[in-house]
Amino acid sequence: MRDRVWIFIGLAVFVAAFTAPFWHVHAKTSARQPDLVLPANQKECVAPASTMRDAHMQMLLNWREDVVRRGDRRYVAFDGKVYEKSLTHTCLGCHSKAAFCDRCHEYSGVSGPYCWNCHSDPQATVTRSRP
């Protein structure tokens, strides 16, 4: 008899935890995908946008291995254009880390890309070096 109180408390906690996303305040306001700042100077990326959305991380990993292990910096894109395999020059030459990479990564909870252990954000470096 007395134990029923504990059973109901436990059940209430479980139901509250399971339905947490429904009560989460921000779910109703920001269901939309993040606004991305697209590059102003370029129309085409190194691969079609759908490929880049799904598989950019694999491309970056392949580029890293080509450059670091084989010294191969030439990337021939799907439309025949030639790019330099470089995160800092090619990717960040057009895209902004804060307004492009980070927005999606924070939105989808991909918090741990270790790009920035070695690479720096050119825009952040420029603004910081100016006194």
Binding site: M1, D3, R4, I7, F8, G10, L11, F14, V15, F18, T19, A20, P21, F22, H24, H26, A27, K28, S30, A31, R32, Q33, P34, S50, R53, D54, A55, M57, Q58, L60, L61, C104, E106, Y107, S108, G109, V110, S111, G112, Y114
Partner: protein
């Protein structure tokens, strides 16, 4: 045959998801209707089962114990394996739920040289524990799709899970562990003829369903690729009660989603309900204090009794005059009563 039926049902669910994902009507049903139906079935079924158990009478303390009971002060009691207090019960339940204490006692019986040999067998315990913890980690990691902004603890779990930074996207250790552990649990049922003999449809169905969910998830993350932004938009839409099936989600996503819905709606009505039931096992969650405290069955009907002291008091003079010895000393009153009781 049980395993074949179970596999066929799981494959049929996956195929329905794959086929539905190709049609616009199917996509709407799979992404906007079935998840709500599954969530309602899960919650209502779960509460119903717990309520039924809450009203099941447990008149006596019936713990199954595995150690020395609390006794004299100079005999060391097993405070957790044979708890006599609520704190001991709490520790015992924590060990049971978090570490599967009783499964750790699993042993293997063999005949060797005409002797019955019982040996320790930790593989079932280890794989069961690994599977459950990996599943919890996977469930918590999926919160990144349902919550915006993503809580810090979910990001921390994600970093911990991809600790070795293998490949891109980084390999989750929980994905490896969950498939390896489920694989072992399945092979165990096939390999041992005795276990295979007692395995029912539901034993295989749960395993195949969880395996299919893991495999479709792994396929999406590492092989066929998926746009996580679209998935999160759908998940947040579901949470906000404004579901909208976005374009560009492959059929394998719908198979994954339908399998998860099947698991959620199947769980309360199957052996998988041990998720809630483990908290309500009277053989584990009661203190072994039947000797130090009297537990009276709460629905005992009041029985009219006539105890020996009462009887002796009634016939005392007749007994004495007939020369029959009486138990209660002259003028002892309550002291004699207490002794004979």
């Amino acid at each position: 045959m049980n395993e074949i039926y179970a596999l066929l049902v799981v494959l049929a669910i996956a195929a329905a998801g794959l086929a539905g994902g190709q049609m616009s009507f199917g996509r709407i049903a799979l992404a906007e209707v079935i998840p709500y139906a599954a969530a309602i079935l899960f919650l209502a079924g779960f509460c119903w089962r717990i309520m039924r158990w809450a009203w099941a009478p447990v008149p006596f303390h019936i713990p199954v114990t595995c150690g020395q009971q609390k006794s004299f002060r100079w005999i060391r009691a097993a405070k957790i394996d044979n708890p006599s207090t609520q704190w001991g019960v709490l520790a015992r339940m924590a060990a049971e739920i978090l570490l599967f204490r009783s499964l750790f006692r699993n042993s293997r019986a063999q005949i060797g040289g005409g002797w019955l040999i019982l040996s320790e067998s930790g593989a079932l315990w280890l794989s069961a524990l690994a599977f459950h913890w990996a599943l919890l980690l996977i469930l918590l990691r999926h919160l990144r799709l349902f919550l915006e902004p993503v809580p810090a603890f979910v990001n921390a779990l994600e970093r911990l899970d991809s600790f070795f930074q293998l490949g891109a996207p980084p390999l989750y250790l929980s994905d490896v562990v969950v498939i390896a552990a489920l694989g072992y649990l399945l092979i165990r049922r096939f390999r041992d003829p005795a276990v295979r003999f007692i395995s029912l449809f539901t034993d295989y169905f749960g395993l195949f369903l969880l395996l299919a969910i893991s495999v479709t998830g792994v396929l999406m993350r590492y092989f066929t690729r998926i746009d996580v932004l679209n998935v999160k938009e759908l998940a947040l839409g579901l949470a906000a009660m404004r579901p909208q099936a976005p374009q560009g989600l492959g059929p394998i996503f719908f198979a994954h989603l339908l399998l998860v819905c099947a698991l959620a709606s199947y769980l309360p009505f199957s052996k998988l309900m041990h998720m809630g039931g483990i908290f309500l096992s009277p053989t584990r969650n009661l203190a072994n204090n039947s000797r130090s405290r009297r537990h009276i069955n709460p629905w005992n009907h009041p029985v009219k009794t006539h105890t020996y002291p009462e009887w002796e008091k009634e016939f005392r003079e007749k007994l004495q005059s007939a020369g029959i010895p009486v138990e209660i000393a002259e003028g002892a009153g309550d002291a004699g009563n207490a002794r004979t009781n």
